[in-house]
């Protein structure tokens, strides 16, 4: 069974960087979203086990996506991957239910470190 993942970032390069950083032995089914509105639709459709979420995006930002996931009690794991490295940004997303916050630019080591820390590998 492949793992359904969502990569939500307005940058094409950033989406590819996340996809390339995934463990190579994972069998994944990746959905890509270019803003939070597209992202939350994918989560609502109920087929996303894990979200890699950017914060600064047009139409709907990552904070709003987290709020909606929390309000609607949608079942998914969210890992925020953002260039906004203010400690308060991390605190805010963790309060909104994110599992972890990873500073951009993402790479294999950073992502696998987090997945390993949470027993997700």
């Amino acid at each position: 069974m492949s793992i359904p993942l969502l990569i939500c970032d307005d940058s094409n390069m950033a989406r590819k960087q996340v996809a390339r950083s995934l463990p190579s032995d994972w069998d994944v089914d990746i959905t890509f979203a270019v803003n939070g509105a597209e992202g939350i639709e994918a989560v609502r459709a109920g087929k996303v086990e894990m979200v890699f979420l950017d914060l600064t995006m047009p139409v709907m930002d990552g904070y709003e996506v987290l709020e909606l996931i929390q309000q609607e009690r949608l079942k998914t794991i969210v890992i925020v991957i953002s260039g906004d490295i203010q400690p308060e940004a991390r605190e805010r997303v963790m309060k909104l239910g994110a599992l972890e916050f990873i500073k951009k630019p993402i790479n294999k080591e950073k992502l696998q470190g987090v997945l390993s820390d949470y027993g997700l590998l």
Binding site: N12, M13, P58, S82, D84, I85, Q86, P87, K104
Partner: protein, 213 residues
Amino acid sequence: MSQPLPFTEDQRDCLQEISNVAMGAAGEHLASFSKVFVELSIPVVRANKAEDLVDALVSLQGLETVSGVAQRFEVGPFSVGGGETSTIVGCALVAITESSFRDLAQQREVCIESDADAQKLLMQLADTITHVCLPMLTEQLGVAAPVMPTSEVASLHVPLAEFKVPQIDGWSGLTTVEINYHLEGHPFNCDLLLILPDSATASLCKALDALLV
């Protein structure tokens, strides 16, 4: 008037994304400097003629008078093929509106009684942003940290239409990256504008392509 971009969509996206990461790193320093949470926006890449530079300060349009500090910087060496390398010169402009400036002075608890006081705070603000943003940008491009001489005032307390940046005199076509910073709950509006002359485009495109492989 905005000009056609000298980049492919992938190159533009790449420049925007590495600017996004660099602005985030600088945003953390700005948050410490201003003691307020910084709201980040999405960097905007544009092509402009030098005489239309103020058009690139989109976030500051329609507002009161503006002050700005500029730093010419040198970045490189970029590989340009055939074993040859080149360096590029750019300009980092930090522009801030009058009310934002007063707000920042309050946050920093400093009294602005003269132009010299204003210049000092402007320089500190510019250094806070550029000394993090530019090295973060070059690190991602895989080149050495930029050589950055001291900032100099570009314009002080002028309407945007009269805003001038002597540091780019002699440049004609420009690529600009507009990075706007807001402070949460404050009337603070400040732009970092990265300005690159047309002569830098070829080297920059090569460096962006290397990231896109």
